[in-house]
Amino acid sequence: MNFLAQSLAIAAKDLAAEWHTKERFGSMAFFVLLILLVFSFSFKSGGAALHETGPGVLWSAFVFASLFGLQRSFATEGENHCLDALRLAPMHPAAIYLGKALGNFIFLALIETLALPFFGLFFNLSPGLYLVPLLGIFALGAACLSSVGTLFAAMCSNQRLGELMLPLLMVPLIMPALISCVEATALVLANRPLATLYPHLRMLAVYSLVFTVLSLMLFEYILEE
């Protein structure tokens, strides 16, 4: 098997496991809904809220949900020494990273897309074709979150660090991507011309690419015993 096939096999394994249990997906989706509710109650909703707090609320919900989901992505490997088995498998450690990151990316992108109707409902968003670019921002945002998140989730599967560390490590590092996601989402909600989005989209694309490549290079040092 070549490198790509190995990563796809890992991603397929994660997705299949999830398909059978639906443990992660269900809890993440519910969690996003809860956070949207919390924010709707915390800030005055309606009217200007959609443009003022809406994008921030949406992305805060995604970041929290991603922390929740990323933790599980390596926690399940801890059961029955699955991670040791993965280490022993005849493949490059970077393939494990890429497969895991791909699985996380699919999860996050799905959750984000699923959350959009609820967000629209709570914040009185009028539906329309002008929202389509949001899907692109969601995809890029999910790529950013999973590129950095998968690396740190692997670190925090170490018992000494524990799950407490993941938010502490990930939130500061994800800040630049978060800023661009929020800004780009605000521009789409305000129905601005697409050209105004480009600086943000470029930033997100470069960010996810750089951190994916960097993680591919560094991942073997995490798996080493």
């Binding site: 170490n158 000494r160 490590l169 630049p176 991507a177 930033m203 960097l214 995490i222």
Partner: protein, 235 residues
């Protein structure tokens, strides 16, 4: 490093720091527009440079550690990260003290301020990881990975913060230093702060080396005596 070197080094730091304080508070004239408040910049700017320098040292030491597994690189990364936090705190406190009379408010979401704050949080997380994970054999490796990722993140922070903030860059440029005495004071303060930075780094490295040695010795003491010895004691 020898005791003699340390003594000379500390004397040099002490003297340049005294001279810098004299220059800032007595020798240099006040800037025309900003008045007395501008004097804080003689420490604010070199502290900011030292912070970046510290983060760069963490980056290089982290790469070297992953390549060579040498414990000295791990120590260097740890000590430099701590100093980065200390000098970052100096920047983040002197900044608002200056901003209060000049901008009329302690804090503004101005690009450089926001970037510094974000980077500061990243390196606080770095130190937290080292504290929580202390003793685990993987932690130096994980910390090195974080040290690399955190440094690569810096340009992204600057770029995204510039896109985001509604405010323009509001820091004064050094063109306002017209009087030659201001220029002398600036360079004197740069030397004082940089010397202080390297002095602290060398002392902190020495301390960390001793601490690691101490831990090694303690571990050796705690090890259960081998069976042969146990036998002889029991016998």
């Amino acid at each position: 490093m020898s005791l003699r070197f340390n003594a000379l080094f500390s004397m040099a730091v002490f003297i340049t720091m005294l001279a810098a304080l004299y220059a800032v508070f007595i020798y240099v004239p006040s800037e025309r527009e900003m008045g007395v408040a501008q004097r804080i910049f003689y420490f604010h700017v070199p502290a900011a440079m030292s912070t970046y320098l510290a983060f760069f040292i963490v980056f290089v030491a982290s790469i070297q550690f992953l390549r060579t597994q040498g414990a000295q690189w791990d120590r260097l990364a740890l000590c430099a990260a701590e100093l980065g936090i200390v000098f970052g705190l100096i920047v983040l406190t002197t900044g608002p003290i200056w901003a209060r009379p000049i901008w009329g408010t302690w804090w503004r979401w101005e690009p450089r301020l926001a970037s510094m704050l974000i980077m500061f949080t990243v390196y606080v997380a770095y130190l937290l990881m080292r504290v929580y994970g202390a003793g685990a054999p993987q932690i130096p490796r994980y910390a090195a990975i974080l040290g690399i990722v955190a440094f690569i993140n810096i340009p992204f922070v600057h770029y995204s913060v510039n896109l985001w903030t509604p405010e323009q860059q509001l820091h004064p440029t050094s063109n306002t230093l017209l009087d030659p005495r201001m220029v002398y004071t600036k360079y004197l303060c740069y030397s004082a702060v940089f010397l202080f930075f390297f002095y602290l780094l060398s002392r902190r490295l020495g301390l960390e080396k001793i601490r690691q040695r101490f831990n090694e010795l303690q571990d050796r003491l705690d090890q259960p005596p081998d069976s042969q010895m146990k036998g002889s004691i029991l016998g």
